[in-house]
């Protein structure tokens, strides 16, 4: 018994032991098949580079979002991570420039998003986007057809879309007309479309302005008159994320505002049940903006093997690898040359998918400057969190809109003060 215990103990401690010289640990979360795709690509890398052992740690998104920042604060963590909260904790990313063979290739092809993942004023190369996402809407075309309501065309406003959907909902007896994911990021594109700008002249958060107020009031009104599905926003407190994708998949709502990352999910789960189309972002008074975002692979400063890390990153950032990754995962690529050449051979036979991807590629051209600046802005997450937290309290009837706006400003100010901003 004692012997076994010691052996087991050694085993357990062995796990915690120091990394081997050529080891590179990648922390990765998956929404769909991308975990398998990256594992496949990394195996190919290891076959080409026998000296480097890449270990892929699949984790829940929660780990990347909640635990990783604490690990980083303690100076620990993996060597590479796939992260979405890129800017706020950018002080922990490694500048790969000295280790890269061709930094110019990176600036050329990934330069557009480089600011999203480095500290203000820095010119470091810390990683690259595995996927670009763009918020946007989806309509259940079959439900619209059955109701005899025409899909609002180009330039249609949020009111047009919600009213048309409400007509469909009434005729087809669905649970509600539409839903938006419970997320501050999701409503920020629409806010900007109504003229909002979160960023003050000094780069700090600005108080909630008329644009945000206008769209927030609309959302609250739509919940009150039953047009917007109540569950998604009201059913949680704080800044928890809730998606309404399942309601769209079940045809409980004819119109759903989410983003490009839902395409693969919708395709597999809806199958042939109904036709769906991506519609980009409806318009407000100031534009028809969505909000870009996405996930990046970043190198982490506390790695002991920066050379090997750079090799892995260089391999994955190659043009043909990026292309293959995008085609197999149905993610929008960030690589400039891949985007410019176009003609991606999406690995799907669902015609809805190809059409939807094209819509999102086109909608990317309509991002307003105020929205385009958000991914590279340090206080984005503070702003998004406060918006969701307080607006859903208004929807639940706990606060008035004016109180909520005052609370949002106070919450953000508190965050800035606590983080020493």
């Amino acid at each position: 018994m004692k012997k076994t215990m010691t052996a087991l103990a050694a085993l357990a401690f062995g796990f915690a032991g120091a990394a081997h010289a050529g080891d590179v640990r990648v922390m990765w979360y998956s929404d769909g098949v991308e975990g398998e795709v990256i594992a496949d690509l990394l195996n190919r890398f290891m076959a080409e580079n026998p000296g480097i052992n890449v270990i892929l740690d699949n984790v829940a998104y929660k780990v990347v979002q909640e635990q990783l920042p604490i690990q980083l604060e303690a100076g620990e963590g993996p060597d590479i991570a796939r992260v979405t909260n890129l800017k706020a904790i950018a002080q922990h990313w490694l500048d790969l420039t000295p280790y890269l063979q061709d930094p110019a290739y990176w600036t050329e092809n990934f330069g557009a998003q480089a600011d999203w993942m480095r500290e203000d004023g820095s010119s470091a190369i810390t990683g690259f986007m595995t996927q670009i996402t763009l918020t946007g809407g989806y309509a259940n075309k079959t439900l619209f057809d059955q109701a005899g309501v025409a899909l609002p065309g180009e330039g249609a406003t949020w009111d047009d879309w919600v009213n048309a959907s409400a007509e469909v909902a009434k005729s087809q007896d669905t649970a509600a007309a539409f839903a938006i994911d419970r997320s501050g990021h999701r409503i920020s594109g629409p806010n900007v479309s109504y003229g909002a700008n979160y960023i003050a002249a000094d780069g700090k958060p600005a108080p909630v302005d008329a644009g945000t107020k206008e769209f927030a009031a609309k959302l609250v009104g739509w919940v009150a008159d039953g047009k917007m599905l109540k569950d998604t926003w009201v059913a949680a407190s704080g800044s928890s994320y809730r998606a309404a994708a399942d309601d769209f998949i079940n045809a409980a709502i004819p119109f759903y505002y989410s983003g490009s990352w839902q395409i693969a999910n919708l395709s597999t789960k809806i199958g042939d049940a109904f036709d769906w189309v991506a519609i980009g972002s409806p318009c407000g008074t100031a534009g028809c903006s969505g909000l870009a975002g996405g996930a990046a692979m970043v190198a982490i400063k506390y790695t002991k093997n920066p050379e090997e890390v750079a090799k892995v990153m260089e391999f994955l950032a190659q043009e043909d690898i990026v292309r293959e990754f995008s085609e197999r995962t149905l993610f929008l690529p960030a690589h400039k040359a891949v985007v410019a050449k176009g003609g991606l051979d999406w690995k799907t036979d669902d015609p809805n998918v190809k059409a939807a991807l094209d819509v999102f590629v086109k909608a990317a051209g309509q991002i307003e400057p105020a929205a385009a600046a958000l991914p590279a802005w340090k206080w984005g997450s503070a702003y998004y969190g406060a918006l969701v937290n307080r607006i859903s309290q208004v929807m639940a009837g706990e606060l008035t809109l004016d109180d909520a706006f005052a609370r949002i400003d106070a919450d953000i100010a508190e965050q800035v003060a606590q983080q020493g901003g």
Binding site: M1, E73, S237, S240, A382, A396, Q415, Q418
Partner: protein
């Protein structure tokens, strides 16, 4: 406080033989594979411990017995609490205390900054006070519901049932499930397009949005927590019921006493010691409510089921911009309340023990 009591009194001079008996069943359970080497190990360290005992006396042995547990306890439970006290007086994003800015009682001042303590909306940290209020309500409802349901279940399981161990297992079963699983199962049952609404619709009723209606959602967190822990408390009460001498009931039956009267006059008074244990344990668990409720409602609708532990967890850990200082201050305040509850528990226990001695 006598939750458990060793079996029959044992004659002191027969300790060697008696001691071997209960262990027989444990051996059967764990198998000689585990106990035999452990027994060998225990014999092997005995000479060393005898020397230690001779050198340091009973005091040294007390220290020896306490040390392993208290060392682990000190490092992994007490030290974090102490660190939390330090955190609560600092601000910043850094993890290590040395890198954080000292701000004294500012975090506490923020938490306690209210113009009117009966209205959370008048407070700087309104959601903290909403959580405090919700937790208070939850504790009251949860304790009463649990006591009633567990008592009825224990009374029923104490009857002459066939397959009694089967029925005991039925009610105990959810205790085995992880809180996450409990929350998930019930979310699927109660959500708008869940199982319960499917039944309602099939039966011709209007569906109810259980997790969106404020009162239903609040009751759902209470009901599900009760569901998950009912079996444990039922067993404690059942133990109390089985200790009540049968002849008392037989006498009552001969007198033709109605069952309700038997319950109030015989069962309940004799069940009181176990009932007190249950009340205290349920109370403590209720103040800490988190896992099941968090998975079930995430604090919604609005903040109707936001409880204090979730508030601390979100402020200090789950949110993208963690506010360690504020969360630590809130946890210290919560700890203070819990210590008061402990003291009440101890007082009750003392009184109970004293009463036991009088008999």
């Amino acid at each position: 406080m006598t939750l458990l009591r060793a079996s029959t009194p044992i004659s002191p001079n027969r300790w060697r033989n008696r001691a071997a008996e209960p262990v027989a069943s444990v051996k059967a359970l764990a198998g000689a594979v585990v106990t035999a080497p452990l027994g060998w190990l225990a014999r092997a360290i005995d000479p060393a411990l005898r020397l230690w005992q001779r050198a340091t006396g009973t005091g040294g042995m007390v220290a020896f017995f306490l040390l392993p547990n208290m060392a682990i306890f000190g490092i992994f439970v007490l030290l974090p609490l102490v660190i939390n006290v330090a955190y609560s007086m600092t601000t910043g994003a850094a993890l290590f205390l040395g890198d954080r800015d000292f701000i004294g009682g500012a975090q506490y001042a923020r938490l306690l900054d209210c113009t009117d303590y009966t209205r959370p909306s008048s407070c700087a940290e309104d959601q903290f006070w909403i959580a405090v209020r919700n937790t208070g309500l939850f504790v009251i409802c949860q304790v009463s519901l649990m006591i009633v349901v567990a008592t009825i279940t224990a009374l029923i399981l104490n009857r002459d049932l066939r397959a009694r161990s089967f029925w005991r297992a039925v009610f105990f079963f959810p205790v085995l499930l992880s809180p996450v699983v409990v929350g998930l199962i019930w979310r699927w049952i109660l959500q708008r397009d869940g199982l319960l609404n499917a039944f309602l619709v099939a039966g011709g009723f209007d569906p109810v949005n259980w997790l969106i209606e404020r009162n239903w959602a609040f009751f759902a967190t209470i009901g599900v927590t009760t569901w998950a822990h009912l079996g444990f408390y039922t067993l404690i009460l059942l133990a109390g019921l089985q200790a009540i001498p049968r002849d008392l009931y037989e006498a009552a039956e001969m007198d033709g006493t109605p069952p309700a009267r038997v319950f109030w006059r015989i069962t309940l008074p004799l069940l009181m010691p176990n009932m007190l244990v249950v009340i205290v344990l349920v109370l403590i668990r209720a103040v800490q409510v988190f896992d099941e409720a968090f998975v079930l409602t995430s604090g919604g609708p609005g903040t109707a089921t936001l409880y204090i532990t979730q508030y601390i967890y979100e402020v200090g850990f789950a949110s993208l911009l963690k506010n360690l200082g504020l969360a630590a201050a809130a946890s210290i305040l919560m700890g203070g309340v819990l210590v008061v509850l402990t003291l009440i528990q101890l007082l009750l226990a003392r009184r109970n023990e004293a009463r036991g001695k009088l008999k």
